[in-house]
């Protein structure tokens, strides 16, 4: 989330990818940073260590949400 905020603050469109276990923390950080509406897309948890096949599936599942968030 903080990476997404820093990139957005530099004027580059950004979407933070946040797993559902960290979604509440992401909201907390975004609010604390004064950018409560910074674009973010929720992923299932975990993503790391789940293998290429599952990661590819997760990417396919959320790619439209990411494009949508960038297009707003």
């Amino acid at each position: 989330m903080r990476d997404g905020i820093h990139i957005a603050q530099r004027g580059t469109p950004a979407v933070a990818l946040v797993t559902n276990d960290f979604w509440e923390q992401g909201n907390f950080v975004a609010t604390a940073a004064g950018m409560a509406d910074v674009p973010r897309v929720q992923l299932p948890h975990p993503v790391a260590s789940t293998g290429r096949t599952r990661m590819r599936q997760i990417a396919l599942d959320v790619v439209d949400d990411i494009v949508s968030a960038l297009s707003r």
């Binding site: 960290f22 509440e24 923390q25 907390f28 950080v29 604390a32 940073a33 790391a48 260590s49």
Partner: protein, 357 residues
Amino acid sequence: MTFLQAEDEYAALELLHELGCTDGLPVVIPTEARVDRFVVASGLDASLSLGTMGPLGGNVTVSLMAACCVMAGCLPDHVPVVLAAVRAVLDPAFDATEMQSTTHCTAPLVIVNGPARAMVSISSGFGALGPGHRANASVGRALRLTMTNAGGVKPGVSDMALLGHAGKFTYCLGEDEEHSPFLPLHVRRGWKADQSVVTVIGAEAPHSVLAIIDGDDPKGADRLLDQLARCLANVGSNNANFRNGQAVVVLNPDHATVLAKAGYTGQTVAAAIALRGVNPLSLLREVNSALPHRDDGDDPSVPAFRSPDDVLVIQAGGGGLYSMVMPSWAAGPHANRAVSVEVDWGAACEIPGALSR
């Protein structure tokens, strides 16, 4: 500062628990009179901002710190030491925002050097990191409560430590300078011996290192250094895998004596541990194959530490078979730096009768 209202101290304690202002243990209720007394002990203005604490970015005022000192069970005399620790954590090099948010278990370890130890009874001997030492317990707890309240720390919401460790309640000790054969940590970090200095570093829980030294073994010191280095740079540690960060070695007096008799100084002990704190590249790749372990050349031994300065060596505890090592998180923009701040006694005020109120 806003003061809450409650019918009595029991109700006030429950309210503080409910609001997430405590660490889950009972606290001394920070009434206005008590907080005022601790503000006076700081010698600073109550509204003075010491900085902002992440991840929330809350304002760390002197009155907030004073309230946390009260809650932690401090004496007014402890305030200058807590203030130095808070200032250390607020130094950007400490990376408090990242440290308080990480999934790693890291906790702020407070090491006190110089005359402050005797002035406020910071313990450095038997069980210094355990229960029974009022100043150690309350100083470390006051720092954590300040970080928690100003930083908006809540487990699983803003503090994402997967498990944490007991040092996140309190984690403070003094160096046993009087019985150490080595120069004190703060002197090795550029301060004068008669200065009181607080060094804070994010650290894992202490890991015991058993080393039974045979006095007739000419390689006893070498074996001890090997054992300390293996445990500090253990293959599961972030230091070993990220090849970064500073970490702590706490020598017990007997182990320190073995090393001193073999001709080591504090600096050369740190250098020897940094030199020996290596893992085979093949082992690192085997246990954490997902990490992009780079190959630095023909040498298959990968150092966990970049410099002897990254190994903070102190002496503390009782004499015996066990020393302690504290590996670290090794991440953040500054890669887990220790930060030292001098204790400012000049601003502190004496408070006649403070203990009786």
